[in-house]
Subunit: 257 residues, 2 copies
DNA sequence: AAGTGGTCTAGACCACTGA
DNA sequence: CAGTGGTCTAGACCACTTG
């Protein structure tokens, strides 16, 4: 038998413990980790446990509810992933002092994104050059001094119209192989993904006004507001690449479900 | 004893199975789920399993590696969370046909964000009114017809300067209590969080050119490029609120680690 | 040093879902 | 209906980290 634990605000209308009391004895119930999660989440929402408060240890919760500690663990892991609680060995479980809304985004491969929208995909190399990285890129990599890297500019097209302009810097010290790749035939991204998977990736979103160059590459007007997705990757601590994906006006990024 | 499984591209320099062969017999090894994850991830990266391919079933992998199925499950769950594989009962595990980069963002409570940056937080109500929702908001809610909701406009301040302009619509059918709240004393967000937790939340990011109104509220120039974070929430299928957080120029959103 | 969370195992049963 | 993933249990041991 499986029953739903109290679920706080999330389903106030649902009856809790509608079965006869006896059947509710911990020993007789088989709790799902989701119900345990809802139970604890409910207590956080109704401020039984306020931000910063310590929750009982897993063992106690398990005993109280009459389930295995593993099940409480599973629920807790989910609450950690959602950003609701923080756990530390010996330190116990606490409600996150600064609650956040945690959102997950899938950043697709542009080719797939375009083709999934039933549009034809195109790729056009704009420029390749070796140059000293600008300060902004050095900052993204966390490098103190500006060194030379290979810069690759390209445009991704959807139905033959500009869709995303890509301004990429590749660290040729980490990725010397890029020097031998014919980037007019193969996008730098596809080559990198196949040959140099990263171990760390940092992403940032922001808005910029279209410069003259952006406007030209994206076939839009200077001054338009453009969403930029900047991605910087490393293998261990060695920089691989930092790329700004400058999107066409109106581009939106949605949470995945 | 615990050894690290092959890890593909991710750590090509690390020796694999450096111990004597005997000690590597599955039966004698205690694999961590992380090592199993790396092992499988490696096989995905090196195209042993290409996008769309089916992986062996958990039982087989467990037997091959000599660990419990639970451990393989744990690794697989992580690969699902990372967007690398897709799993279905009876259907098995497959490499995601359209690989994505999955990123997680923490969207903090603005007050906390400001105070954590050691700046003083302020909040100022701009306007409250009842009006028919514009098409864009109806679309966000997925509503066919435009109905009347309560609109709340406010500015969040950091060090007494505008930081985020908030344009919010609240469905008074779902949340009638909002009508009795003194919003000059309490931000709509804080009241809603406390009294009406959502069961579904959709977030989208995009860039807009500062309108005259935005420029006025944010104390910036019209035409500036602004990052907008739009959040729409429901309880079950009933709309709660849709809010545009229009940020000050230069605002960036970073992945959490 | 002790307390708490993290993980692993072995086994059982359940719940989807594809053939 | 049968195959595969999802979850639960009970127990053991490990690994942090705080007092």
């Amino acid at each position: 038998m499986q029953v739903d634990l109290a679920c706080g605000h999330l389903s106030p209308s649902k009856g809790i413990y509608t079965q006869k009391p006896e059947t509710l004895l911990p020993q007789n119930i088989r709790h799902s980790w989701q119900s345990v999660r809802r139970y604890i989440h409910g207590k956080i929402l109704d401020k039984t446990y306020a931000p910063g408060d310590k929750l009982p240890k897993d063992d106690d919760i398990a005993q109280t509810l009459g389930c295995a500690r593993t099940t409480v663990q599973r629920a807790m892991r989910d609450l950690v992933d959602s950003g609701h609680v923080v756990r530390r060995r010996k330190g116990g479980t606490r409600v996150r002092p600064d609650p956040v809304t945690r959102a997950t985004f899938d950043i697709p491969i542009i080719r797939n994104e375009v083709e999934n929208a039933n549009r034809s995909y195109g790729y056009q190399l704009v420029n390749v050059a070796d140059a000293v990285i600008p300060n902004q890129v050095a900052t993204s990599f966390g490098l103190g001094n500006a060194i030379e890297m290979r810069r690759i500019e390209a445009v991704h097209l959807a139905d033959n119209r500009p869709y995303i302009f890509e301004d990429r810097w590749v660290d040729t010290r980490t990725v010397p192989g890029i020097l031998d790749v014919d980037l007019s035939q193969q996008s730098a991204n596809e080559w990198l993904v196949r040959h140099h998977p990263y171990s760390r990736c940092e992403i940032r979103f922001y808005a910029v006004k279209a410069t003259a160059a952006y406007a030209r590459h994206l076939n839009t007007a200077p001054g338009e507001a453009l969403l930029v997705m900047e991605r910087t990757t490393w293998i261990d601590t060695a920089p691989i690449t930092s790329v700004k994906a400058v999107t066409v006006p109106g581009y939106q990024l949605l949470t995945c479900i």
